[in-house]
Amino acid sequence: MLIPTFIGVTLVAFFFIRLLPGDPILLLAGERGISAERYAELQHSFGFDKPVIIQYLNYLMGLFHGEFGMSMVTRRPVWDEFFSLFPATLELSFVAIIIAVLVGIPAGVIAAVKRGSFFDHSVMTGALIGYSMPIFWWALLAIIVFSGWLQWTPVSGRISVMYFFEPVTGFMLIDSLLSDQSGAFGSTISHLILPSIVLATIPMAVIARQTRSAMLEVLGEDYVRTAQAKGLSKLRIVGMHALRNALIPVVTTIGLQVGVLMAGAILTETIFSWPGIGKWMVDSISRRDYQVVQGGLLMIAMLVMVVNLVVDLLYGLINPRIRHR
């Protein structure tokens, strides 16, 4: 299943990028222009002078050696750039999904248990608004309110320029703690909080809705009634019996949010100048950095595919009905 899709993805990455308008070499040369010899030389060094099929096969062979191309602007391998920026995106997405789960699941559970109450209506309204939110606007609003009016958080970046330390893990939250500089960790948190809340908005809404409907379904099951008849406390019924089964579809939903997070990261990172792969992709598209878009597109697609596979496996692990098939 995965391999044909993988080959298809490489084909898409390869051919779509070839179709981009603009000659990359002329673009690289800029306004000064370029001599014919140098042009031919560069064409040769990038392999643009060979037939397209050969270029694709070379590309595919390169992939298996971990060669995802070279940025035409920075002259660094795409692979290196990806992994130097990826921790920033991972940190942001990870914190966002934690927020989404920590808020979304309890909100969904309580809404289901107190079905029809004021709380239920508020959560469902909030979830629908969150789900309909244009997050790029939501990010701008957050900046106006929290950075402009209240001056609580900085507008952009990952940490204040006052602090500098060599990246150890690439994750600012860990690196700032390791650096022993007082205030660095606080600065990291204050930079992280707005973008992660913005990025968490849609997954939070989806998780809350999904949890509520899964919970409602489970609460109507016979075994819940049995537990009630046995006189178990409501907390025990909901927490021990119902939640476990309700969470099975929710886990899939959380996994499927990875694609949503990647799309959201493109917008969130652009607005908050967050140096991650979302911003990197947008910048590369506008700079027409062929190789970066190609490599980045492929690596992001592979990432999403792998996560979806893991979710499928995880689903079998937590759902005994599927496990024994």
Partner: protein, 300 residues
């Protein structure tokens, strides 16, 4: 005579179906509110040139970044204020409603048509045809939708039309999957077999016999895609890859307003509110449709 009777009966049954549908739809109060808001938006879009108080692209040189009328320094002729080059924001929003609804309709029509045709073919014929189509859809789904749309627009060149095509391509696999699943469930039912035995050709079987029985999930998905299309088009506009300035598209307006966010909150706030209200209304309708069309939820 007989034909007339059949026609009358079928018209009555259509009426009954619609009546039943409205009964379940109107139970959901949010959906009715959403429908009302949406119809208002459609009216605004339709009569936009007559409603808008100013020309959307007219730059008033004496009125740069004027705040809304109710704020100190506001001017009652510019109800929601003006932007950085002195254009009336309200008029631009009203004209922008046309674009957003237009984008939604076109994208859904393209994605729905393509999705239904491919899904019917895949589900009806099965085998290699099915595998090929579904594999291509899997490939599209492997990319985060906004990223793929962004790359497609980069290939085709920035602009609203190309943005619509890209979004339609990205949204289409959902329709293919839904149609295929429904067709596979219906394909071996008695009424389909009966029609086939009676000599109906594959086209007739696909489009006239099977398709009408698969419409419920497609309608719900179309509603969701409608709001997604509006959101994605605005996002592309915001990233500079959708409608180009000076088009009064809501996302593009937000992009132009970005540098003024800390000085003039209104240039950022109102386009976003417009997007949110539109998308929210459509999603409310979508929820209502899902509840009304899902037979499992009808507990009568």
């Amino acid at each position: 005579m007989t034909d007339n009777t059949i026609e009358t009966v079928s018209r009555q049954s259509t009426k009954a179906v619609l009546k039943e549908f409205w009964f379940y739809f109107s139970v959901n109060r949010g959906a009715v509110i959403g429908l009302f808001v949406f119809l208002t938006l459609v009216l605004i879009a339709f009569f936009a040139p007559y409603i808008a108080p100013h020309d959307a692209n007219m730059q008033y040189r004496e009125a740069f970044l004027l705040p809304p009328a109710w704020v100190d320094g506001g001017n009652s002729s510019f109800l929601l204020g003006t932007d950085a080059v002195g254009r009336d924001i309200l008029s631009r929003l009203i004209m922008g409603s046309r674009l957003s609804l237009f984008v939604g309709v076109i994208v859904v029509v393209i994605a729905l048509t393509g999705g239904i045709v491919l899904g019917l073919i895949a589900g009806y014929y099965g085998g290699k045809v099915d595998t090929t189509i579904m594999r291509i859809m899997d490939i599209i789904l492997a990319f985060p939708s906004l990223l793929l749309a962004l790359v497609l627009v980069a290939v085709l060149g920035p602009g609203l039309v190309n943005a619509m095509i890209s979004i339609a391509i990205v949204l289409q696999p959902h329709f293919v999957r839904l149609t295929r699943a429904a067709v596979m469930a219906e394909r071996e039912r008695e009424y389909v077999v009966a029609a086939r035995v009676a000599g109906a050709g594959p086209l007739r079987l696909m489009f006239l016999t099977i398709l009408p029985n698969c419409t419920a999930p497609l309608i719900v998905q179309a509603t969701l895609s409608f709001s997604n299309a509006i959101l994605d088009a605005a996002a592309l506009g915001f990233l500079g890859m959708g409608a180009q300035p000076p088009t009064p598209e809501w996302g593009t307006m937000l992009a132009e307003a970005r540098e003024f966010i800390l000085r003039a909150w209104w240039v950022v706030t109102f386009p976003g509110v417009s997007i949110l209200i539109t998308v929210l209304a459509i999603n409310l309708i979508g929820d209502g449709l899902r509840d009304a069309l899902d037979p499992k939820l009808k507990r009568s």
